[in-house]
């Protein structure tokens, strides 16, 4: 009955919209991108013929200018990923924890405040940070010099590591609200009974965070890390508008480089090959994260069991007074 033809057709009808969207908006562009990367494709002149892997060879040919620019952009993107993912995850988690401990009325208020920056366009964010960090009479330099912290202006946008610093804090300020919101929702989902149990076991705040909160929000944290890494790979607007890829191309990201190769350099074929290589690198990085998460998940329960049994076997811990107990008697927590 379930395998009748009409049932199959009905099922096909239901999944048809998804399939159509998948084919049109994902699979076909990806395949078309791969096809372009195998051709000598110029934006102005169109397809000048199939060249096989020639565009990929150009990217990996150490004597080629495209290689130099691609590797430089790749290195810059990894630098940004390394410096941006930890604060974007940890600060957003910290903010979420702070908000989670606020009274519910204030919780909504601050959640909105912190999320608000995420709604601002990158152009406006860049304009704000350009004004703040302009070396010549910018707000931050004026402040530092007025307070006698520095005698001469800091070249925030034209010297490293300051340029990365500006890109980093503009990114954190701009996007922190999104990750924070995911963490706030995840914290809302944590069963209060677990905290009560931990209280009874005498766990302090740090231990409650480590043994209750973190395992409970682990999947969301994993999602946040993956999406933050992917977003870091897609760095474009901030470096384009704040540092213009400088100083000396040190903040030129992969997307900026691809954009330049295609639209200024007219090399759609080579640009597409760069995009495909970038996609492969992102897939590998995401795959590694996924594998690491699976590994942690599979190891997790064992560690948990080990910890619990250890604690129960340790008489010192079993008999130790809870932090808010006086002389072994429980008192009201202030």
């Amino acid at each position: 009955m379930y395998h009748s033809k009409s049932t199959k057709y009905k099922a096909l009808l239901f999944i048809a919209p998804f399939l159509a969207c998948f084919l049109i908006f994902w699979l076909a562009p990806v395949l078309y991108g791969i096809w372009i990367s195998l051709n000598d494709y110029k934006l102005s002149m169109g397809n000048l013929g199939f060249v096989g892997l020639e565009n990929y060879k150009t990217i990996f040919d150490t004597g080629s200018v495209y290689h130099t620019q691609f590797m430089n952009a790749l290195k810059n993107t990894f630098v940004f990923m390394a410096i941006s993912v930890p604060p974007l995850v940890l600060i957003s988690l910290g903010l979420a924890l702070l908000i989670d401990n606020l009274p519910s009325k204030l919780k909504v208020f601050f959640r909105t405040i912190f999320f608000l920056s995420y709604a601002i366009s990158v152009t406006a964010v860049s304009a704000i940070f350009l004004w703040l960090f302009n070396a010549n009479g910018g707000f931050v330099n004026n402040l530092l010099m007025t307070m006698n912290i520095t005698n001469s202006p800091v070249n925030w946008l034209t010297e490293q590591p300051y340029a990365w610093f500006v890109v980093l804090i503009s990114t954190v300020w701009w996007t922190i609200g999104f990750n924070m919101l995911l963490f706030v929702n995840a914290l809302d989902e944590v069963d209060g009974a677990l905290y009560e149990a931990a209280d009874l076991d005498g766990a302090n705040s740090f231990k409650k965070f480590l043994y209750v909160t973190l395992p409970e929000i682990r999947n969301v944290a994993f999602f946040v890390i993956i999406t933050t890494v992917i977003a870091s790979f897609n760095l474009y607007g901030q470096t384009m508008l704040i540092t213009n890829g400088g100083p000396a191309r040190s903040t030129t990201s992969l997307i900026m480089n691809i954009n330049h190769t295609v639209f200024s350099g007219n090399q759609l074929g080579i640009g597409s090959a760069m995009a495909i290589v970038m996609g492969v690198i992102m897939t590998v990085v995401t795959g590694l994260q996924y594998w690491a998460n699976l590994k942690i998940n599979s190891d997790g329960p064992k560690r948990k069991r080990k910890g619990r049994s250890k604690k129960s076997e340790d008489p010192a811990l079993v008999n130790a007074p809870l932090p808010y107990q006086v002389d072994g008697k429980e008192t009201m927590k202030k």
Partner: protein
């Protein structure tokens, strides 16, 4: 069986996309709702000058009922032009060779004749900007050279030489240590500076189709910018993107360093006028190198290769004939651009108050040196723009030897981008 079906679906999708990417190379006549032949005109005039070009287009459309110019003003008009069909396009001199080699534009001598114009109606600088291999590839519209704006409260007379700049700087510094003669940018308009100093020292950067920066004379010439910042200190260091204009516009009360002069693009005229009002002076580029010369870029009206239809050609000619009537093109001078059409320049000269900037810049036309016409000019210049010039004005200890090493790298990049 199922595999086959899915294979078929995939193949069809890919084929559909491939077909969508292919198109007819020849533009066909488009007819407007009232039976007029439409001329699709694309340009990148999205700033203040856009409305002046729109006025010319509107006036043309109202003047007759045979043709209709449909104008698109796009910030990324080159990308749009590459991927769609147009009948007339505004092109920069810097891109001319690239679009000729990519076979996207055609010679315009026959169009010039059809529009009732001749080459001797244009200033030689405009013709040089529009000519490649002795063939005219566009109608010279304007030249926008590096322009000097100055604050008349500080500068009594526009400096004409490097020595004048040093003297001005000494005076400015003695009155206010945060006031400099000018600001040298780290990036942005620096290719105008690079071409200007090459032109003033009579250095030809073009060699076999690419830009050869690795020349001893050129390194010496470039070091003047380093000296302006670190030796004579007539400019603050590390000004970054568009630093020449930002420093000129800096309000001294807001802190930071200010410049009395800006060597910048004429498109900043309106903003500078708003800030300085009647105290805004306009001058020619001073002699910083061995001789007098200025550089910049030019707007050219080019006809795409796909324009083959007789009616469309007639429409293009009719519009260009109308545009080059001095009373129409003078609108373009009002926007601040300097037309290279001689009869229009006469009108500008007669009324320097109305056409303040154009009237001043037309004096620079005789000194204008065309930029090198090479394939992928922008990409060939990129290393100079992004790395070399920035080092010149930010590294106090930069030596000529270190500069030469950078120039060799810039040349190698240029050579590869030229396709040689």
């Amino acid at each position: 069986m199922y595999k086959k079906k899915w294979g078929l679906v995939l193949a069809t999708s890919v084929l559909a996309f491939s077909m969508a990417a292919c198109g007819d190379d020849e533009s066909e006549e488009s007819t407007g709702s009232n039976g007029t032949t439409q001329i699709k005109f694309i340009n990148g005039f999205t700033g203040g000058d856009g409305s002046y070009m729109t006025k010319i287009v509107d006036d043309f459309n109202e003047s007759q009922d045979e043709f209709e110019v449909v104008q698109s003003q796009e910030p990324d008009h080159y990308t749009k032009f590459k991927s769609s069909q147009y009948d007339l396009v505004i092109m920069h001199e810097s891109n001319l060779e690239t679009y000729i080699q990519d076979q996207m534009i055609q010679p315009v001598s026959s169009f010039l004749e059809g529009a009732g114009l001749s080459e001797d109606e244009f200033h030689p600088a405009g013709l040089a900007a529009s000519t490649v291999n002795d063939e005219l590839y566009g109608f010279p519209l304007d030249i926008h050279p590096l322009t000097m704006f100055f604050n008349e409260e500080v500068v009594s007379e526009a400096p004409a030489t490097y020595e004048d700049l040093v003297t001005l700087n000494n005076e400015a510094q003695s009155s206010d240590p945060n006031l400099y003669a000018l600001g040298i940018p780290g990036s942005g308009l620096v290719e105008f500076y690079i071409n200007m100093i090459a032109a003033q020292n009579d250095i030809d950067l073009e060699q076999d189709g690419y830009l050869n920066f690795a020349q001893e004379d050129f390194a010496d010439a470039l070091m003047i910018f380093h000296d302006m910042v670190f030796e004579d200190e007539i400019s603050p260091a590390q000004l970054g993107l568009d630093g020449e204009f930002q420093t000129f516009m800096k309000n001294p009360e807001g802190g930071g360093k200010q410049a009395a002069i800006a060597l910048t693009g004429p498109w900043y005229f309106q903003a500078a006028k708003e800030q300085y009002g009647d105290n805004l002076g306009i001058g020619s580029i001073p002699q910083i190198g061995d001789g007098t010369a200025t550089a910049g870029n030019a707007h050219i009206l080019a006809v795409p290769s796909n324009v083959q239809d007789g009616a469309v050609k007639e429409g293009v000619e009719a519009f260009l004939g109308f545009l080059y009537e001095p009373e129409n093109l003078v609108n373009w001078a009002e926007s601040g651009q300097t037309p290279t059409h001689l009869a229009t320049l006469d009108l500008v000269s007669e009324d320097p108050e109305t056409y303040e900037l154009a009237a001043q810049n037309l004096e620079q036309l005789d000194d204008y040196v065309s930029m090198p016409h090479v394939y992928n000019y922008g990409e060939q210049m990129r290393y100079m723009n992004e790395i070399v010039f920035s080092k010149l004005v930010s590294e106090a200890g930069l030596t000529k030897e270190a500069l030469m090493t950078e120039l060799e790298m810039a040349t190698e990049e240029a050579r590869q981008f030229s396709g040689q």
